[in-house]
Symmetry: C2
Subunit: 200 residues, 2 copies
DNA sequence: GTAATAAGTCTTCATCCGAGGACTTTTGTG
DNA sequence: CACAAAAGTCCTCGGATGAAGACTTATTAC
């Protein structure tokens, strides 16, 4: 059997590379993930990654495009009673992040956005234009953009604190517990009154 | 003038290295910061960094120790009316993070904790034992640890979303605006009732 | 004054990284 | 069957990185 040349059959190596990359990005973030590691995980020569995607940034872009589903997230906010949108969004989001011991690919985007300017740009654009902007437009509330941004901050913070920093109280808590606690906060950001006074 | 050997006078090169490292970690995070870059910023040979701190991890530890002031943070929560602790904590925290265009060294810790396991461990230990644990102990509320963890998640999220991802609505908002909006959320996490029902 | 120590630098080494060119094999199309 | 394109691999290059050892100079303690 030849070690070089095209493999027999109709292999879907491209998508295997994408999912291997998603795992690496989730575990280590953009900078700490190397194309060589991804290629090794996918059982492929690094040069093939380059042939398919061009470079590391484009590879990350492909992973992001495969992971991000704006319609789904929007549906989580839109479909159902408006008063429970916060809890619904949080449940959907935590579902995407997956189990604490084995996080999903979405964590890779968040992790990467913190250190890589390129990844941050992708996430910013996606959040601002595809998700937050749409949510804000539908809110019909004052300070709609800021509200959406605050929602994003709480969501991102949960991802970082629970999955990356792994704060014990947050890793120990169940999805339901977190939804019970933080759901009302998202709801407040989305539709609550803006008051300076104490809000229990 | 000799290019090698000890410099004349009583130089405080060590602290210059620490502050240069703090700037680099803040701008790029742990992985993307190299000892060589830090040394260059401090106008020093990389080997000197090694002599002083031993390695990159210890250098980061020194920066963390210089940046973190648990007593100050605790005072922000403790000193003053209990009902405004959330807003007070948030103001203190945003002050530490600094201007959006020129973030302070605390951002380096957060940024680094996302990708580096070592940095995450340091931050986890500091937050859990030095800060959140103490806050939780003083809360005299149910689910004290979880409350403290949720507070941390919102704080970390603001840092990441505003300073790293640079979401437009959050970079545009002033410290006061953010304190007005998110302060009540921290207050709710700290002392609010835990209710599943909607909380506007 | 002299010896020890602290503060610095220079050079080297093994390793990993991303990029890219050259080559090989399979598939699909006429 | 012939041939182009797609799918793969191999090898190498230049650059950056962390680690480490050998050497030099100023300060300090005696």
């Amino acid at each position: 059997m030849p070690r070089t040349g095209r493999r027999p059959g109709r292999p879907d190596t491209r998508s295997e590379i994408v999912s291997a990359a998603a795992r690496r990005f989730a575990r280590a973030g953009y900078d700490a993930t190397s194309v060589r590691q991804v290629a090794a995980d996918a059982g492929v020569d690094p040069a093939l990654v380059r042939r398919f995607f061009g470079g590391k940034e484009e590879l990350f872009g492909a992973v992001a495009a495969a992971v991000i589903r704006p319609e789904e997230a929007l549906a989580a906010v839109t479909d159902g009673p408006a008063g429970e949108a916060g809890t619904r969004l949080l449940r959907y989001y935590l579902g995407l992040l997956g189990d604490v011991r084995q996080p999903g690919p979405l964590l890779g985007l968040v992790r990467s956005a913190v250190t890589s300017e390129h990844a941050a740009g992708l996430l910013r654009q996606f959040l601002a234009e595809r998700l937050l902007g749409v949510i804000a437009a539908r809110l019909r509330a004052d300070h709609a953009e800021l509200r959406a941004g605050l929602v994003a901050s709480q969501l991102v913070g949960l991802a970082v604190a629970r999955y990356a920093v792994r704060l014990p109280p947050l890793t120990a808590a169940s999805t339901e517990e977190l939804a019970d606690w933080a759901g009302p906060v998202l709801q407040y950001y989305l539709t609550g009154d803006h008051l300076t006074q104490e809000r229990p």
